[in-house]
Symmetry: C2
């Protein structure tokens, strides 16, 4: 029955029933963490043989004979550049290999824009605003907040950000850029449609130093068979003089090891040059032995894609536990809707307005840790207090069953209480 | 015979003799690189077993059970923090483990000061000057230049920077800091005396956000038996409320692998907190598997120190080739003096004023690549045109013999020509 159609007594009965269930839940002293998109240990085991791929026997030299143990090679060893060039479908000259995380690449790139600018005056000497599709990735918002970049939200729709709004906002020359997750977005799991990517490539921002950080974190992170396809942004830009507006990043954090992966940038030659100029001051080159490990283990893009099927085998049952339980317990009740992603690491759950913070807090008290409510919005403020990000990758199937059961108890209890308040 | 005491004819004869030798040198088509402080392949071989220290058999968990493959642990795994705490003789709570290079730590720290300040207004919104002991490390100067920090030189004397000048300069509130290499300095090989370190600890800068980047790159990098001892700056600061002025960095770049080492910061709790706040936005944590490899391979500080003796065995003969040849060919001629360091990676050579650029250029034409003349001064300007940095670590003994022979030919030729000009 739809909650909103219940009378007071029905709601009271429901509240009492789930209040009792919540007390039972608390008495179980659970300790479960669904807060971050962390691969599970059994996913990490999939890459364990990589650790043996560089040793005294196999050698430590790149294909061109370069000793990967020593200083040098700012932008990555050639075979690793080739791997990522093929992955992102760009030319090797448009690739720079980074350290163990694309987060650091993004932070350092914004630093570069603040200090040296993006072809114009340093951002640090300008008033800088970013467009933020919401719900979005909390770490993107944190970077903006750290650098004092004002955040303007636009809705993330089924097929990408609200491009009407984006096209309007970029008429303001102080609007300097965006962070976007174009495929299997965090947390919604949406993939930008071809039309959306084309509209991005056609943008004519007032700011000549406009930059979209195209965070392609989940480029091959499918969990369903009929996976999403993302149009190549640099292909879309061809002939439009807009390629400088896009800086794409990705990493193997959720392919090999989250703490010891390899990241990469894809960008126009002009942007690559500017990034290398900064890197020449900042670093002696990233860890080339780890680049070598990755290339030797995965071999090529086909190797990467095959490996992702093994991840999907671990992930799909975990997503299904959550989605099946939501379907059974929450559908047709008017209190929740959720995403059903074909890839990525998250399920985005929207519950009745004004209830998310309370639900997350009650879950926490019952030993079920979720991402903070509001985290998917700039400054942690979800004005509807409705969105909850679910990260099902890390717990075991059994733990997920407990977690989703507990979560649904909290949702029903909080929603019933909320309706009784009115 | 002293060049300056020769008559014209003697100088002409000398010039002709060495001009002939230079032509012979060029005809040998050498290809030698003494430009950077790069360990030789036989030094890198010393750590090769480290690559096998983390694998499926040995496991990938830290002592506290943490899975080093996954996300998390911003400041380093406990056993790695302990290793560096013991190395730098500070408490573990004063340590943060970085990525593969202390250069990046330093760059990122200056970024942090530019964006967020060092307890006061962001440096990016102030006029910032740094005191630069010269000759010094070119990459320190490059960082200052990148961030638009004005550089004021002071002489690096036998026992440290000219502290009279430093104490005078810090009365200017826009003088915000210094980069120093307190032990086996780059390029001079000097180590700061206890008195110098005490004077540092007693500094009363007008700028409350004054910061000395204490780049202890060569903390255990002895090549002589009677090695230098450096007083612990944080011990010296005790009871003086000056500890926040110092941020110490080091790394294993020249202990394990230059491209795949581990770096560390030692700083006051206040500075550590500020650095962690930035890191929480910038990174998902540095490569913990590599931290684990290092701890398992070196075990403890004694292990590190024993390992450095193996490096010294490779380095000392290389330094000796250069120093012995200088002694034989250049001493008592009034045209050159040089350092005789007990550790570090460089020999600092000062030749007759106005000759360094010419010598480096002629060496280069003969296939002997040296560090650019001027590189040891801010903006690449050595107003005496006298200092040349020699990096003897990378070439083989035979190559070094060729290189130093060629270098001395060029020096004598250029000095004779210079004197003939007058």
């Amino acid at each position: 029955m739809i909650f909103q159609e219940m009378n007071k007594q029905q709601l009271k009965d429901l509240r009492d029933e789930f209040s009792e269930k919540y007390n039972q839940l608390k008495s179980r002293n659970l300790s479960l963490d669904m807060s971050r998109g962390k691969p599970s240990p059994d996913q990490l085991d999939l890459s364990i043989d990589m650790l043996g791929c560089v040793n005294d026997e196999s050698g430590y030299k790149a294909e061109n004979g370069f000793d990967c143990r020593n200083y040098g090679v700012l932008d990555g060893i050639p075979e690793c550049k080739k791997l990522f060039a093929n992955l992102l479908e760009v030319d090797e000259k448009n690739i720079i290999i980074g350290g163990n995380s694309s987060l650091t690449i993004m932070f350092d790139y914004i630093t570069q824009c603040m200090i040296s600018g993006a072809g114009e005056k340093p951002w640090g000497k300008q008033n800088v605003k970013f467009i933020c599709p919401v719900p979005g990735y909390d770490r993107h918002f944190s970077i903006c907040e750290y650098f004092g970049i004002e955040m303007i939200t636009v809705d993330l729709l089924e097929d990408g950000p609200d491009m009407d709004k984006v096209e309007e906002l970029i008429k303001d020359p102080s609007v300097k850029g965006m962070f976007v997750v174009p495929k299997y977005s965090n947390p919604c799991g949406n993939t930008f449609s071809d039309e959306c990517v084309m509209r991005f490539s056609n943008l004519k921002p007032a700011a000549k130093d406009f930059r979209v950080i195209w965070d392609n974190a989940y480029c091959i992170h499918d969990i369903a068979e009929d996976n999403d396809k993302l149009m190549n942004i640099f292909e879309a830009c061809k002939g439009k003089e807009s390629e400088d507006f896009f800086v794409e990043v990705t990493s193997t954090s959720k392919i090999s090891f989250p703490g010891s992966g390899v990241s990469a940038i894809a960008a126009s030659e002009k942007n690559i040059d500017m990034i290398k100029k900064r890197m020449a001051i900042q670093t002696i080159g990233n860890d080339k032995l780890n680049q070598l490990r990755h290339v030797r283990f995965f071999k090529d893009v086909d190797g990467l894609k095959e490996h992702m099927k093994l991840h999907a085998e671990k992930l799909k049952p975990r997503f299904d536990v959550i989605l099946d339980y939501f379907e059974k317990e929450l559908s047709g009740k008017g209190i929740a809707k959720w995403s059903n992603p074909k890839g990525g690491y998250f399920i985005s759950l929207d519950i009745m307005n004004g209830c998310a913070k309370k639900v997350v807090s009650m879950c926490s008290q019952a030993g079920i840790v979720l991402t903070d409510a509001g985290a998917t919005y700039p400054y942690g403020i979800d004005k509807n207090d409705s969105n909850i990000r679910i990260a099902p990758s890390y717990p075991s199937i059994e733990e997920l069953k407990d977690a989703v059961e507990g979560l649904c108890i909290c949702i029903k209890l909080v929603c019933a209480e909320k309706l009784l308040e009115n």
